[in-house]
Subunit: 231 residues, 2 copies
DNA sequence: TAGGATTTGTGCGTATGTATT
DNA sequence: TAATACATACGCACAAATCCT
């Protein structure tokens, strides 16, 4: 009688597919901030009419990743320094909560997923690459969010991450990439150590400090850029 | 050259108007959880076609207040006890942050807005009424959010509030309403005292404890209801 | 079991508004 | 300054799916 809740309807699958594809492209900088997207082109690519595609664009707009302007186009948003600062401050505070909000029991499978991330970090240290880094960083976030069962917390953390991560990635590509890869590898290694002994509160503290330091470096990098631009 | 950012386009105004109207109706229980809404009826009421209305419904769906089901209708969501618990836990932690995230300077105007809320509480204590209580509670939240300039924090706090407040209101209507009015009045009075001396960190602590106690009472009330139902 | 009524989802043509030449 | 090109916003008709008789 009732449909299997695990099996989503075709329209939902299609929506999710388009949504994740576009979000990934935006966060991996395949679509740069300021770039204009075409509804008709994207609709053709995904094999749907403009209507369902616009639904997806509307969702991405509500999350601050796109902005539709009448008669102009659908534009990938940029993030100004003020909003970046506020978002990072909030993410810092949120990250620390993870050990307090419905932490899951650490399974061997979960540990293995962190180890897998660490191995990919090792590759990145050997051959740095901004795009692959962005991908690993995204996957790292997803494993981290699986440390808690608090769904609203997961939603919000994900939302805030996607809001600003591409700005960080963009900035990193202009900084000392090799150094950033080593710093990130160390963060993953620290988190893995904490997860292995089930110390999820420690994970929160590690994350908090790394988010804080990332933002400091990002801000310094941006300041350097602006000096070069004005020079 | 550039358009005045204060003056929104007609479509944006219309969107906001419809969005806030529907959200308010849902949160004031004019639309009860489980109720089915009609796209055509609402579109007619607001004097637009289904297309722009569906945009609004999509936004409310992304915030978890509605759920559109193919061929069935657009249904006001309910919130199960698990999600309610998780949301309240998160809101507790978030509430405490307000003093740490870009607190504003307290102006006489701001204090007056809190005093205004307190006066409306006095009326509520004299003549309790669930719907008017819901309205004052909503306005109280909005003044509270004006204590910080951290926009992502404001967005998220608002989102989480609207997600669950109607369940609380529904529950309160079946509890000791007069007692709840007095408790709420005390919270507002406590917050006002803290605001008057500029102690925004204290506001955070007061809010945290009140959210925690509200949830405890809500859970007890729901437990009592279930016992009556099964009896 | 089947068919009709109803409601959301989709496709497409047109309206509206912006930017550029 | 005006006209033209172009992209999103909107309205409507139809398709698809569910529920009830």
């Amino acid at each position: 009688m009732s449909t299997d809740p695990v099996r989503l309807s075709e329209q939902q699958r299609k929506f999710t597919q388009m949504y994740q594809a576009l979000r990934t492209r935006i966060c991996l900088l395949d679509y740069a901030p300021g770039q204009r997207l075409s509804e008709v082109t994207l609709a053709e690519e995904f094999g749907v009419s403009r209507t369902p595609l616009r639904r997806v664009l509307g969702r991405l707009e509500s999350e601050g990743l796109l902005k539709s302007v009448q008669s102009v186009g659908t534009i990938v948003t940029d993030v100004d320094i003020e909003e970046l600062t506020q978002t990072y401050q909030l993410r810092m505070e949120l990250a620390e909560m993870i050990g307090r909000l419905s932490p899951v029991e650490v399974t061997p499978d979960l540990v293995e997923r962190f180890r897998s991330i660490l191995r990919r970090c090792d590759e990145l240290v050997r051959t740095p690459d901004p795009r692959r880094f962005a991908q690993v960083n995204m996957d790292f976030l997803n494993v981290l969010l699986d440390l808690t069962e608090n769904e609203p917390f997961r939603e919000i953390s994900e939302r805030l991450y996607y809001r600003t991560t591409r700005i960080w990635i963009k900035s990193i590509a202009r900084m000392d990439l090799a150094e950033e890869m080593q710093i990130f590898r160390r963060e993953v290694a620290d988190v893995l150590s904490a997860v292995e002994i089930g110390a999820l509160d420690a994970v929160g503290h590690i994350r908090r400090s790394h988010i804080a330091m990332s933002f400091t470096r990002l801000r310094q990098g941006k300041a350097r850029e602006e000096m070069q631009v004005s020079a």
